[in-house]
C-alpha cells in the first residue's frame, strides 16, 4: 500500500460534500407561513406607528382601499412580467401593453359594457404581447429592444386609434367618452361590524378592522378577478404540468426541448398571456368605479413599476403581490394625506429597522445588525428634527421605500436562468 494518510489525526470529517451552493442545514419556512409572517410584521409595524404618531389614517379602511386600488394595475402588470419572464422572455414592454389595455377597455366598455371592456383590454394587451412574442421568439430579437419598441408602438397606436375612433364621440382626441363601470360590492353585515370596531379607535383591534374593512368594501368583479389571478398564477405555474413546462422554458429551454416540450408554443403562450395580464392592468385604470375612461398618458409608468414589483418579489407571485402592495400603500398614503403620513412612515421605518437589527443580533450577523441599527438611529433623528418632508419629495415616497427595502433586505434574487437568452430549436446543446 503506497497510500500515506496525511491527516490521520483528524477523524472523518462529518461535513457534507463541498459543492459550491451553500446547503444551509436549517429548515425552510413554508411559503404560506412566511407570507403570513410578513403580513403580521407589516400590520404590527404600521399599527404601532399609527399609535405612536397619532395618525389613524395609517390603517384606516380608506387608506387600505386606496392602496388596493393603486396596487391593482401594478400587480397585474407584475403578473404579466412574471408569466413572460418565467418562460424566459424579458418583458420591458409591459407599459406599452398596458396602454393598449386601457384603450381596449375604454373601447370595449363604451360599446358593450364593462365585461366586454375587460375582455377587450385583455385582447389588446395580448396583441401587444403577441408582437413581442413574434419578435423575440420567432425572430430572436433582443428582448429589451423589442420591449422598448412595443412601448413606443403601444403609445403611438392608441393615440392614433383615439384620433380615429374616440375623437368624433368625445370631441377630444386624447380621451374616450365616459365608459360604463363595474358595480361594486361589499360584504355587508361584516363590514358594518368592522366599521364599528374601526370607529372605536382601540390600538390593534381598530387597525386590523380598518385594514380588513378596506379590503371588503367596494369590491368590484375586476378587483376580485385580479386578486384571484395571483393564486391562479401560482397554481398554474407551479402546480400544473403546463406551468412546469412553461417554467422549464425559462430555466433551460434546450433541456425542455430534449424532453419533447414544444418550447416555442409555451413561450408564445406565456408572452401572450403576459400581454393579456398587462392589458387587464390597463383595464384596472379604466373600468373601476369612479374612473373616467381612457386618457392619453394615464398609465404614467405603472408598467415599469409593475416590472420592478416583480423583480422585488423575486419572480414569484406572492413576492410581487407584496411589492405591489408596498408601493400602492405608500402611494396611497402620500396621495391622501401627503407630508404628515409620509413623515410618520419614517417612524415605521425606524421600527422595522430596529426589529431587523434585533433579528440580526439573534442570528449573530454583526455587520447587517450594525447597518440596520445605524440606519434606524439616523432615520429616527430625521423623524425627530423635522416635522414634515419637502412636499416636492413626498410623491416619490413609494420609490424611496422600494429602494430602501431592497437595499436593506438584500434578498438573493434568483431570476430564471435562461432569461433573455435566444433559443432556436435544434441548435442548442
Amino acid at each position: 500500500m503506497n497510500l500515506v494518510t496525511t491527516s490521520s489525526a483528524e477523524p472523518n470529517p462529518s461535513a457534507g460534500p463541498m459543492t459550491e451552493p451553500a446547503p444551509a442545514p436549517r429548515r425552510r419556512v413554508p411559503g404560506w407561513l412566511s407570507a403570513m409572517l410578513w403580513v403580521a410584521i407589516a400590520i404590527t409595524v404600521v399599527s404601532t406607528t399609527s399609535y405612536f404618531t397619532g395618525l389613524p389614517e395609517l390603517t384606516s379602511s380608506g387608506t387600505v382601499q386606496t392602496a388596493l386600488r393603486l396596487a391593482l394595475p401594478i400587480m397585474l402588470a407584475g403578473l404579466g412580467g412574471l408569466w413572460a419572464e418565467r418562460a424566459g422572455v424579458i418583458n420591458i414592454g409591459l407599459e406599452g401593453m398596458m396602454i393598449m389595455g386601457t384603450w381596449g377597455a375604454a373601447w370595449g366598455g363604451y360599446q358593450w359594457g364593462p365585461w366586454a371592456g375587460m375582455l377587450a383590454a385583455a385582447v389588446f394587451g395580448a396583441l401587444g404581447g403577441l408582437v413581442h412574442a413574434v419578435a423575440t421568439i420567432t425572430f430572436n430579437v433582443n428582448h429589451i429592444v423589442s420591449g422598448v419598441a412595443i412601448n413606443l408602438l403601444g403609445a403611438g397606436v392608441t393615440k392614433y386609434l383615439s384620433t380615429l375612433i374616440f375623437a368624433p364621440i368625445s370631441q377630444n382626441p386624447r380621451e374616450s367618452p365616459a365608459v360604463p363601470k363595474f358595480d361594486t360590492f361589499s360584504v355587508q353585515p361584516l363590514t358594518d361590524w368592522l366599521r364599528s370596531l374601526e370607529d372605536l379607535q382601540r390600538v390593534g383591534i381598530s387597525d386590523v378592522a380598518g385594514i380588513l374593512r378596506g379590503l371588503l368594501i367596494n369590491v368590484s368583479p375586476l378587483t376580485l378577478i385580479a386578486i384571484l389571478l395571483v393564486p391562479v398564477s401560482f397554481f398554474v405555474l407551479w402546480r400544473s404540468p403546463f406551468g412546469l413546462r412553461l417554467r422549464s422554458c425559462g430555466e433551460n429551454p434546450v433541456a425542455a426541448e430534449s424532453l419533447g416540450v414544444n418550447v416555442y408554443r409555451y413561450k408564445y403562450l406565456a408572452v401572450t398571456a403576459s400581454g393579456a395580464l398587462a392589458g387587464l392592468g390597463g383595464a384596472a385604470l379604466v373600468l373601476q368605479h369612479g374612473q373616467p375612461g381612457y386618457l392619453e398618458g394615464q398609465t404614467g409608468g405603472r408598467g415599469f413599476i409593475g416590472l420592478a414589483a416583480m423583480i422585488f418579489g423575486n419572480w414569484r407571485p406572492g413576492g410581487l403581490l407584496g411589492g405591489a402592495a408596498l408601493f400602492g400603500y405608500t402611494d396611497g398614503l402620500q396621495l391622501r394625506r401627503g407630508e404628515e403620513t409620509v413623515h410618520a412612515l419614517l417612524y415605521g421605518a425606524v421600527l422595522f429597522l430596529v426589529a431587523l437589527a434585533i433579528f440580526q443580533l439573534i442570528r449573530r450577523r454583526w455587520l447587517p445588525m450594525v447597518i440596520a441599527g445605524a440606519s434606524a438611529g439616523l432615520l429616527y433623528a430625521l423623524y425627530w428634527y423635522t416635522d414634515e418632508l419637502p412636499e416636492q419629495l413626498t410623491p416619490y415616497a413609494p420609490h424611496f421605500l422600494t429602494l430602501i427595502v431592497l437595499a436593506v433586505a438584500a434578498q438573493r434574487l434568483r431570476p430564471p436562468a435562461a432569461i433573455g437568452a435566444t433559443y432556436r430549436k435544434g441548435e442548442g446543446g
Partner: protein, 538 residues
C-alpha cells in the same frame, strides 16, 4: 445495486438476438461551414451496448441528436426496430422508446429533481404524488439516493447524471443513448454505472455509448463503430481490438501515453500553501481546511478527488477568485494572499480552468481577442493600457501553429472551435509569457486523444524547463501518468499522499471516496442537506 424493471410494454420481448434496434443509413448533417455527419451508416442490434468512438468534433453527438430528433438530418433515413421513422422533435423519439443522456447535462438548475424528471412526461403520472412515488420507486430500483425535492443546482455531477438516467427510465425508453457519461466520474462511479448498464442490457435495453476512454469502451461494449470526420470508418470487435488499433482508426496516430519522463523536480519551492482555509460566504462552513502544500519547480503535483470536495475552491483561492479566510499563499517565496487575480497572473501563474466555456473563453469573440484575456496588461498583447492588436494577432498565430489549433483563422469566434481545439488554445495561451506555475484543472477533459497527447506533451516540456504544475484531474490515468506526487482531497482536506509510480487506480479511488468501507459516511453527508420542505414555491 439492483436494476430497474423495464417499463416498456414489450418488456423482455427480445433477449438480444439478431433483430436490429436502430439502423441509420446515409445520414448527412451540415452546419454552416461544417459537414458534421457525412453519409453515416450505423446498425445497432437490439439488446447490445454499441459504442461510438471518434475524435472531438467527429460528429458523434450530432449523430445522436439526430437519432433523438433534436436535429433533422439533411439526408438519410432512420429505422427503429425495423420501421422507418421520421422524428420531428424529441417528443417523437421519446414516443418511439429512445432516451438520451446528453454530453452536456440537460437539466434546469432551478427546478427540483422531481420536476426535472417528470418534465415533458407529465401525462404518465402527473406532477404530484403519483409521480413522486414513481420516481422514488425508480430511484430505489437503481440504487440512486436522490431526494426528489432538492434543487438540481445543489447536486454534484454524479448525482446530476443519475437524474439524467432517471429521466430516461421514467419515460420507459428501451434504446438509451449515453453521450460521454463517464467523463466526469471516478472509477468506482464508472463501475457502478457499468453494472447498471450490464444489468439493463440483460433486461433487453439497447445502449448507444460514447466515450473517449478506450479501456472503458472495450470493457462495456458489444460492438464498436468508429467515426472520423463525420463518416463511419469501420467497426471493431471489443474482444479483440486493442487501444492502439482503435486509436489508429480514429485519428491515424499512435495512442499517446501520459507517462512522464525522468523526474526533473528541483528543490525550489514555487507555490506554498500555509494553513490555507476557506469558509463559505453565507454560513461560514469550511470549504477548505488548513491546507499545507508545496509545489516545486519542475514538479507536477496532482490532486485526486471526487468532484465537489474542494478542488474547485482550492484552485479559485490560489487564483484569487476567492479570498482565503485564513492562511497564506506564497509564490516563489512572495506572499500573494492579499493581491488580486491579475497581479497573481502577472507574477507568473497560468490557469487552465475546469470549465473552458464559462471560465476560459469569450465565446463570441475572435481567437486573438481571447488571447488577450488574462494578458491585458502585458506584452505582447498590450502596452501601457493600450491593446497591442498586432502583437496579439501575431502571438495567436504562433499558438495556433505550435499547438495545432485547427481553425480556419484567428478571426473566427472561439465558439466556432471544437472543444479540443478550444482547450489547445487555452493551454497555449496559459503557457505563454513564461509562467512559473501552471494550475491545470482537468486540462484534457472531453478532449480527443490527439489533442490530449499534444497537451500532455506541452505540459511535460514546460515542466522540463522548470515549470511547477498543480494538476487537478478526474482522469486517474492522466494523474498517474503525469504527476510526480499525488495528493488526495476529501471534503476540503488533503487526506492522503501517494506515489504515482506504485499506487493503483483502485487504491486511489478508495482514498478519494474516504477510506475503503467508509462510503456510508458520504451518503449520510449527502442526506444532510436534503431539505424536505423545499418545493418550487419558495
Amino acid at each position: 445495486m439492483t436494476t430497474p424493471t423495464p417499463t416498456g410494454t414489450d418488456a423482455g420481448a427480445d433477449p438480444g438476438g439478431g433483430a436490429t434496434a436502430v439502423v441509420l443509413s446515409g445520414i448527412t448533417k451540415r452546419f454552416p461551414g461544417v459537414v458534421a455527419n457525412d453519409n453515416v451508416c450505423l446498425t445497432v442490434r437490439r439488446g447490445e451496448v454499441h459504442a461510438l468512438c471518434g475524435e472531438n468534433g467527429a460528429g458523434k453527438s450530432t449523430l445522436m441528436k439526430t437519432l433523438y430528433g433534436m436535429q433533422q438530418p439533411d439526408e438519410g433515413t432512420i429505422e427503429i426496430n425495423g420501421e422507418q421513422v421520421h422524428f420531428r422533435s424529441p417528443a417523437d423519439a421519446i414516443a418511439a422508446g429512445i432516451g438520451m443522456v446528453h454530453q452536456h447535462f440537460m437539466l434546469a438548475d432551478n427546478l427540483t429533481v422531481l420536476e426535472n424528471v417528470v418534465l415533458g412526461a407529465e401525462s404518465a403520472h402527473g406532477i404530484g404524488g403519483r409521480a413522486r412515488r414513481r420516481v422514488a420507486e425508480l430511484a430505489r430500483q437503481t440504487g440512486f439516493d436522490l431526494a426528489p425535492d432538492l434543487l438540481v443546482e445543489r447536486l454534484g455531477v454524479a448525482d446530476r447524471q443519475r437524474v439524467e438516467i432517471l429521466k430516461v427510465l421514467y419515460r420507459g425508453a428501451r434504446i438509451v443513448i449515453l453521450d460521454e457519461p463517464t467523463a466526469v466520474l471516478v472509477p468506482q462511479e464508472v463501475e457502478d454505472l457499468f453494472a447498471s448498464v450490464r444489468a439493463m442490457r440483460e433486461q433487453g435495453y439497447t445502449f448507444l455509448f460514447i466515450s473517449h476512454k478506450l479501456d472503458e469502451v472495450r470493457a462495456i461494449a458489444d460492438s464498436i463503430t468508429v467515426i472520423r470526420r463525420g463518416t463511419t470508418v469501420g467497426t471493431a470487435d471489443p474482444a479483440t481490438v486493442t487501444n492502439r488499433q482503435l486509436a489508429e482508426m480514429m485519428v491515424g496516430t499512435e495512442l499517446p501515453s501520459p507517462q512522464t519522463r525522468e523526474s526533473v523536480v528541483t528543490d525550489r519551492a514555487v507555490l506554498e500553501l500555509r494553513g490555507l482555509t476557506l469558509r463559505a460566504e453565507g454560513d461560514g462552513r469550511e470549504l477548505l481546511h488548513d491546507l499545507d502544500l508545496t509545489v516545486r519547480a519542475g514538479e507536477i503535483l496532482g490532486i485526486a478527488g471526487v468532484e465537489g470536495n474542494g478542488q474547485t475552491e482550492l484552485v479559485e483561492t490560489i487564483m484569487g477568485i476567492r479570498r482565503a479566510s485564513a492562511g497564506r499563499i506564497l509564490l516563489s517565496g512572495k506572499d500573494i494572499t492579499r493581491v488580486g487575480t491579475l497581479a497573481r497572473r502577472e507574477a507568473g501563474i497560468g490557469y487552465v480552468p475546469e470549465d473552458r466555456h464559462r471560465y476560459g473563453l469569450l465565446l463570441t469573440q475572435p481567437l486573438w481577442w481571447n488571447r488577450i484575456l488574462g494578458y491585458q496588461t502585458r506584452r505582447p498583447t498590450a502596452r501601457r493600457g493600450w491593446l497591442d492588436r498586432a502583437g496579439a494577432r501575431q502571438d495567436t498565430e504562433r499558438i495556433v501553429r505550435d499547438f495545432d489549433v485547427r481553425t480556419p483563422g484567428i478571426e473566427v469566434a472561439a465558439a466556432a472551435l471544437s472543444g479540443g481545439n478550444q482547450q489547445k488554445l487555452i493551454v497555449g495561451r496559459e503557457l505563454s509569457g513564461d509562467p512559473v506555475l501552471l494550475i491545470a484543472s482537468h486540462p484534457t477533459r472531453g478532449v480527443d486523444v490527439g489533442a490530449q497527447a499534444l497537451i500532455w506533451e506541452q505540459i511535460k516540456d514546460a515542466r522540463a524547463a522548470g515549470l511547477a504544475v498543480l494538476l487537478i484531474s478526474a482522469d486517474l490515468d492522466e494523474l498517474l501518468g503525469l504527476s510526480d506526487t499525488i495528493k488526495v482531497m476529501l471534503r476540503g482536506r488533503l487526506v492522503a499522499e501517494a506515489d504515482p509510480k506504485t499506487v493503483t487506480p483502485e487504491e486511489l479511488g478508495a482514498a478519494m471516496t474516504g477510506a475503503a468501507g467508509d462510503r456510508d459516511a458520504k451518503k449520510d453527508g449527502a442526506a444532510d442537506h436534503q431539505e424536505p420542505g423545499e418545493g418550487g414555491d419558495r
